[in-house]
Symmetry: C2
Subunit: 317 residues, 2 copies
């Protein structure tokens, strides 16, 4: 099947213009936000998007706003040409790849803001490129916080992560203006945070969570897997394997969360990993439970060498 | 001139449907968010909206999210029928009055959120009416924070005010989907916060700030003026009068902010008011200055009895 080449848009004004134009023709837009270095998990989201909308937009943007200074922003893998090849191979293709350079650069003029006092003071104080890390009074300073859901699990070890995610997703929603947006369940806490944000801020966007895609041996697909050594790659299987065993045990009646968590932690540590957290939480509120009596999700984050991986499994009781 | 009666919409889904319908016809929408009990200041915003868009939507909603428990939510004045009469008297009229009952009630089902795990757990956990003050794991918990601009001036004495304003304006923008929105300069800090938020979150909305409308004796129009006793009403003139004197003094070369602020504080206190703050700040960054060398705004908040009033004057140097 010969697939179309996606239109590459790098400018947010152009992106918005494209969306408005398509909307005015009555077309619906499905949106898959990514940080690039695409794998089968992303491709599954793109395929799913085709089922929900006339047109599909994929964004590729490594968002500096969700990394803290000590994290792996500088080494986050990228391969824009490879990404576009992969997207072209998706049945039906992708209509637009939105690949902005810097979403926190507000430039020297700001068309969305009109200063009607006529003071003329703006020109002198505009400072060109503005990064989200600056704080000179004109830099980015608006953050969307989903205050309770962002606190636990990944929020504990990555304190600015979810405010960065919620903020950039808000920006992307406002630029791309989609009808439907798709997020993978591998980032389970992120999915719930985005769903809550969409409800609380009244975005007219339907959020769809898509199942985790795994390698044939069970490792959850992640752009960060590329950084694992062969040995770490083998050790990392301890996450999905111990989670699977825990799910089977729970389904057989072992509903004590302390014991289930201990077994997962032990398995990962024995394999050579360092557990960041292992938590069994309500699927919607993400509140930790002591016994499994209703649908929960077992979430794990663990380090293998310098690579931090996350994974989870839903247990539906 | 016989003016049309506005359509009254109370449901956010209906509001959005109206906007989408109008947009699909190529119409532009101007939006004036208010808390009702309209005065000439609001009417000036509505008239200005007519200059910028084909259609005008006015929202009337007293937002609980911006009041702290000790503040005057319960006594905030309202008069929806009077408001509609006033809007009908505006030349050209108003197309829609959006008057929702509770923007933080997410009901028992949430069309924007699809739980695709098929667990069926949602129905049991949904809790009917959800207020922004609840914290049972399903209540409103997403807040938009403009972190630096919200800290000073009114933010000092009203700690949740601006996050509440930024959040409800985000909600209203997502529901009403306007091209242009108008805010009065009386709430100067609010205007700058909304402008910054719109820039930082990439809303495709032009923000226009409109000049303060004053009573003939100089008192800035405010819905809260109705709570002033005749004596307090007279005392309150000390704000606008002392600000005017300060502006004239500055224009004549008195640029020392400490002295200018002291003269305003003294005038208000001698009249019987209690000053919350008196600050001279940069018009855009709202950073306090020591000497007036560039465009500033002199902002004041003061109590007269149980009524807290704000006012400001721009000084363009």
């Amino acid at each position: 099947m010969a697939n179309k080449e996606p239109e590459i848009i790098t400018d947010k004004t152009q992106m918005r213009k494209w969306s408005r134009g398509m909307r005015s023709q009555g077309k619906t837009i499905g949106f898959v936000p990514t940080m690039g270095f695409l794998h089968e998990g992303h491709i599954a989201l793109v395929k799913e998007a085709r089922n929900h909308a006339d047109l599909v937009v994929v964004s590729i943007y490594v968002n500096p706003g969700q990394f803290s200074p000590s994290e792996d922003l500088s080494t986050y893998p990228s391969d824009i040409n490879g990404d576009i090849q992969k997207l072209m191979a998706v049945p039906g293709g992708v209509d637009v790849v939105f690949h902005p350079h810097n979403l926190y650069d507000y430039g020297t003029t700001n068309p969305s803001v009109e200063n009607v006092n006529g003071s003329g003071g703006d020109e002198e104080r505009n400072v060109g490129v503005v990064s989200c890390l600056e704080n000179n009074g004109l830099g980015h300073e608006t953050w969307v916080k989903v205050e309770r859901l962002e606190k636990g699990m990944c929020g504990k070890s990555r304190p600015v992560f979810f405010r960065g995610v919620a903020t950039v997703v808000t920006k992307l929603f406002n630029i791309v203006d989609p009808d439907v947006a798709l997020f993978g369940k591998k980032d389970y806490q992120q999915l719930r945070i985005i769903q809550r944000m969409v409800r609380d801020l009244d975005f007219a966007i339907k959020i769809i969570g898509s199942e985790i895609v795994r390698e044939s041996d069970g490792l959850a697909m992640s752009s960060r897997n590329v950084h694992l050594s062969p040995e770490e790659r083998e050790q990392a299987l301890s996450i999905s394997r111990s989670l699977s065993r825990a799910r089977i045990a729970a389904e057989k009646g072992q509903i004590n969360c302390r014991e289930l968590k201990e077994s997962v932690i032990k398995a990962i540590e024995e394999a050579g990993g360092r557990v960041d957290y292992a938590e069994i939480v309500d699927q919607e509120s993400l509140v930790a439970v002591e016994e499994i009596k209703s649908p929960v999700v077992f979430c794990v984050a663990a380090w293998f060498g310098k690579v931090r991986l996350i994974d989870n499994m839903e247990i539906d009781m």
